[in-house]
């Protein structure tokens, strides 16, 4: 029987339920190597907590403690929500601008962006690519999906790079809602398509913020695609 590293670590930390722990104990009895690994994990834990223990015993600096001891703590009034609404305004403005530019550029060509209820959605080839393309097997397609993930609020999102726009699209009831857009990787033949593989760091950082857990692996992506990204 093989024990994966997560289970072995959880055993060393006493995090397994009694039944699972019993199973690991049996495996350890049969395999000295496993026993060694558990011992190493525990020794590491002991060493780390011992190394940092003196810090928790050090006297807290006066300035810090005084801040909490003082009875006249001035509770700053909650910051007015004005900042948020300004952000909304800025975002709405940016969205309008993007919409205008993209629609302007692609009106006749049934472009990659469409509006629905005041929100931007992928359409045409972009929507098709988001629906069907898998990051692992897409080859040299004009639209490239860089990563797929589950958003913290639920639902699937995908990071893409296309000639007209790069962005993050999240699947909702109407289709692929565009949450982020950036200037695209440029029109041109396949030969010009050098940037597609190197994702925009700002875009990936935004994706990281939206992500619940890790990006989907190839199997997870295939499964999500099979269920229509819902």
């Amino acid at each position: 029987m093989t024990i994966d590293p997560e289970t072995l670590m959880a055993f060393a930390d006493g995090e397994l339920d009694p039944l699972a722990a019993k199973r690991v104990e049996r495996a350890i009895a049969a395999d000295p190597l496993l026993a060694e690994q558990v011992a190493a994990q525990r020794a590491l834990r002991a060493r780390l907590s011992a190394a940092f223990a003196p810090l928790a015993e050090e006297a807290v600096p006066d300035a810090l403690a005084a801040r909490l001891r003082s009875n006249v703590v001035t509770l700053a009034a909650p910051a007015p929500r004005r900042v948020v609404s300004r952000w909304r305004e800025a975002l709405a403005l940016a969205a309008c601008l993007t919409l205008g530019v993209l629609l302007g550029q692609n009106w006749r060509a049934a472009g990659p962006i469409a509006a629905h209820d005041g929100a931007l959605y992928a359409s045409g080839r972009l929507a098709g690519a988001l629906d069907t393309q898998l990051a692992a097997t897409q080859g040299a397609a004009p639209v490239r999906v860089l990563a797929s993930f589950r958003a913290t609020g639920g639902g699937y999102c995908r990071v893409f790079a296309a000639p007209v726009t790069n962005g993050i699209a999240c699947r909702d009831a109407h289709g692929w809602a565009l949450r982020q857009t950036r200037a695209g990787t440029g029109e041109g033949g396949q030969g010009d398509y050098r940037q597609a593989g190197s994702p925009d760091p700002a875009l990936l950082a935004a994706a990281q913020d939206m992500m619940a857990g890790d990006p989907l692996d190839a199997a997870g992506e295939a499964k999500a695609q099979a269920s229509g990204w819902r």
Partner: protein, 156 residues
């Protein structure tokens, strides 16, 4: 909150890897917690709540620094440790080695290691502080520990 300060300072040190940043982070965390203390729900764990404020504050700081183009704290900053008598020197030397190894981990692994191995939180509690699923926490923890074991030697 006062009683939590020693642990918060320890966590700050583990996150930042040097005393100066740890002090700043601790100060900022206390200020934020005071301002936001109405949001803390009685009956929930205050330590988890404050760990979370601290960790998010540190993420903001490192992001701002990355933008400013100085991702790495100079090595000396972490090694400059005062000496106050023999016992403390010993403790600090040990901290230096462990801390240097800890500092080489990616942030997401370091914070998982700090919460579970140094602060002694259960996996579930640590996952809640970091706002990640259990599976994510354990895989970060495994990778972080393997890297530490490789650096500090099997004998740990």
């Amino acid at each position: 909150m006062l009683a939590l300060l020693p642990r918060l300072r320890r966590f700050a040190r583990a996150l930042t890897g040097n005393a100066a940043d740890a002090d700043d982070l601790c100060q900022a965390t206390v200020e934020k917690a005071l301002v936001a203390r109405a949001q803390w729900q009685a009956g929930t764990r205050m330590d988890s709540w404050m760990y979370r404020i601290m960790r998010n504050g540190w993420i903001d700081t490192t992001r701002a620094r990355t933008r400013a183009g100085q991702t790495f704290v100079p090595e000396e900053a972490g090694l400059a440790i005062g000496d106050h008598g023999d016992r403390t020197i010993e403790a600090h030397v040990a901290l230096g080695e462990v801390e240097t190894a800890l500092r080489t981990l990616p942030d997401e692994q370091r914070e998982a290691v700090a919460l579970v191995l140094i602060e002694g939180l259960a996996y579930k509690e640590a996952a809640a502080v970091l706002d990640v699923p259990m599976g994510t926490l354990t895989s970060r923890l495994v990778r972080g520990r393997q890297a530490l074991l490789a650096k500090l030697g099997e004998a740990a």
